[in-house]
């Protein structure tokens, strides 16, 4: 596509012909107040917040419905356009309750931001003259609606219709008394909570995050959802309050056009809870908590005892780094290693959009690393095993074998359990259902020292390099040359 050159204030920009002016500005990090426009939804032009001056046009124009043209000259800061923006924002705030102190959106709210930028700081309307609407409507699916805060941009309505393919949300009423309402139970076909991210103000908030934390305290990591093989890109938002432990408060989708766009499913969004709760934090032997050194010496004794038949199982829930470390570890002690099986396939989870039936995030990685996944060989080996080294696999074992378990959560049927870091506490790579290699990182710090699986196994074989990324970079490419340039 051919490019055109245009001027916006003092910037000269080049962008593909036909692009929307607002998108060019957003892509170049220029400020352009807007409510109804969202990259993932079609331009609607209902809020009029995105007014700009275009040379040669008599009246101000909306940037979200204006394709760019060669030589276009756009102004966004002249006194008259500032006055226009101020007037439109005043209309948006005409009946707004201004209850930022109790609003979860505060800190990431478009109204607050534009108020600071173009606001009319002295109101013309007394609070007592405002029109009141419903303040706390629980729509279901973890979404709470505050009708007074709504700016009627209809992003939520359009998302539900165009993306989630349901008809749950509508605008009812007229003029100043228009409100968003749900028709029946709001489900959004399993994608309901995306409207919380889409809503530019605090009208739609999450009941799961309600009053849990102020957003400006949260630290955000760029991670990957481990809920299914899609591997939606996410933000992990966490914070430790004074004297408390580092806790995950919410997951939010992170834009990646090749994988999940701007969205994620509700199941994935809520999945963070299991990372906070009921974690395996200390080594256990026969159900009792003990020290790492004691567990390590027991484990080494078993590994060196050649009279025992040992078999290892690994699940497709680990990163490439962790899977490769398990493979190296088993090769070193000549333990047969088996991988992925049917357990994490859940056909009912799949849908037409993001969710896929494979609930494991890295089956493709397991196969790429050449770990044996044939059920026959695995079952044959398991039936003879006396000790099973279980790397988060969760298979049922015959009563004859004892399980040594490496995992993030306690296992009810294990002789020995070693705690390892969950994905929110480490970094690594995953390969998703479309064969895309993705990197995740997490910096949640538990008060107990939790090591990544690969660092823990490195300690066991006494190789410090196993804790480092450069080592895995080289090792992974060595094991699977097709990863070259994709890590």
């Amino acid at each position: 596509m051919s490019n055109v050159t245009l001027r916006i204030d003092e910037h000269t920009l080049t962008a593909p012909k036909g692009s929307l002016l607002i998108q060019v500005m957003l892509d170049n990090g220029l400020s352009i107040p807007h409510f109804c426009y969202h990259e993932a939804l079609e331009a609607d032009g209902n809020c009029r917040m995105c007014m700009v001056e275009i040379e040669g046009q008599k009246r101000p124009q909306i940037a979200c419905n204006t394709p760019i043209k060669e030589g276009m000259i756009v102004r966004t800061t002249t006194p008259s356009i500032m006055q226009t923006k101020r007037a439109i924002l005043e209309l948006e705030l005409r009946n707004h309750p201004v209850d930022c102190p109790i609003c979860d959106q505060a800190g990431e709210c478009s109204l607050q931001e534009y108020y600071m930028e173009v606001g009319l700081y002295d109101a013309h309307v007394a609070k007592s003259d405002k029109i009141h609407k419903a303040k706390h409507v629980d729509l279901g699916s973890h979404v709470v609606l505050d009708q007074e805060r709504c700016v009627l941009c209809q992003r939520c309505v359009r998302f539900v219709h165009d993306k989630a393919k349901s008809a749950d949300l509508v605008v009812t009423g007229r003029g100043a008394t228009s409100v968003i309402s749900a028709v029946g139970a709001f489900t959004g076909n399993g994608y309901a909570m995306n409207v919380v991210d889409l809503c530019p103000v605090g009208a739609l908030t999450s009941s799961d995050f309600r009053f849990a934390q102020r957003v400006w305290f949260l630290q955000s990591d760029a991670s990957i959802c481990h809920g299914c093989a899609r591997g939606c890109n996410i933000h992990l938002d966490h914070h430790a309050i004074k004297g408390g432990i580092d806790t995950l408060y919410r997951l939010r989708p992170r834009k990646n056009s090749a994988v999940n766009g701007h969205f994620m499913c509700d199941t994935g969004r809520i999945s963070y809870k299991s990372l906070n709760e009921n974690r395996l934090l200390e080594p256990h032997v026969e159900g009792h908590a003990t020290s790492f050194s004691h567990t390590f010496s027991l484990l080494r004794r078993t590994l060196d005892d050649k009279s025992q038949t040992i078999v290892a199982l690994v699940s497709p829930h680990w990163s490439l780094e962790n899977l490769a470390s398990v493979k190296l570890f088993c090769a070193r002690f000549e333990i047969p290693l088996f991988g992925a099986h049917e357990a994490s396939i859940e056909p009912s989870f799949a849908d037409e959009w993001l969710r896929v039936a494979d609930r494991a995030p890295n089956r493709a990685g397991l196969e790429l690393l050449g770990i044996d996944v044939s059920p026959h060989a695995r079952d044959r080996a398991l039936s003879r095993a006396q000790v099973v080294l279980d790397f988060g696999h969760d298979a049922t074992l015959s009563s004859m074998s004892t399980r040594y378990y490496f995992g993030t959560h306690p296992h009810s049927d294990a002789q020995m359990q070693l705690p390892v870091a969950a994905y929110s506490e480490e970094s690594g790579h995953l390969i998703n259902c479309d064969n895309i290699v993705q990197h995740y990182s997490g910096s949640v710090k538990r008060s107990e020292p939790l090591l990544s699986l690969h660092a823990l196994l490195g300690l066991l074989v006494m190789e410090g390099a196993w804790a480092t990324q450069p080592f895995w970079h080289a090792t992974l490419i060595d094991m699977a040359p097709s990863l070259e340039g994709r890590l």
Binding site: S31, P97, V98, D99, C100, P101, I102, A106, E113, M116, E117, Y121, K127, K135, H136, R210, F211, A212, R214, W216, F217, I241, K242, G243
Partner: protein
């Protein structure tokens, strides 16, 4: 993030030329110095604690308290503005949904660690609901353990102000 620029006060030549203010300050300092050194018997001494100070002004920043609404319920809505503004990071708040219909949000836990507090008053400045004040005139805080100095929500609500009005004066910051 955008900012709202507030015009700076004190633009006159006298104000910008700080030497004149410095001169006024030194005159006071040396005035006291010479007066005291020439007549040590006349130095101002307060026999504390037998004699209590009686010159605490209304602007004095003492022990904090949490104010009440006209109906007697807690005024604080757990907005975290005070905790955010606190340079000592000594305010710990946990919020919960308020279910009595008066408001939507309130603190479940509201604690100030007075050992970390620097009594700057920024929490009071930040509060949009006039829910926290330091107008108690309490300047003496004593305890036997560090934990004695962590004031809880209940203690802060029970602390009295030294001046009328005793209720939050915020008019519908969020009604």
């Amino acid at each position: 993030m955008s900012t709202h620029i507030v015009p700076r006060h004190g633009k006159s030549f006298k104000e910008r030329w700080y030497l004149s203010a410095l001169w006024v300050g030194f005159r006071t300092t040396f005035g006291h110095f010479w007066r005291n050194i020439l007549n040590t018997n006349a130095i101002d001494v307060l026999e504390y604690p037998e004699v209590m100070p009686n010159d605490i002004t209304a602007r004095y920043r003492g022990h904090h308290r949490l104010t009440h609404r006209d109906d007697g319920s807690i005024a604080c809505v757990a907005c975290f503005m005070c905790a955010t503004n606190c340079p000592a990071q000594c305010i710990t708040i946990e919020a919960q949904a308020r279910i009595d219909g008066i408001d939507e949000k309130e603190p479940r836990r509201f604690e100030i660690d007075l050992l970390e507090c620097i009594f700057c008053g920024y929490c009071v400045e930040a509060c949009p609901c006039d829910a926290i004040r330091m107008d108690t005139n309490i300047f003496s805080m004593v305890g036997n353990a560090r934990s004695d100095f962590i004031r809880t929500k209940e203690q802060l609500l029970a602390t009295q102000g030294a001046y009328a009005p005793t209720h939050s004066q915020a008019k519908g910051a969020h009604t």
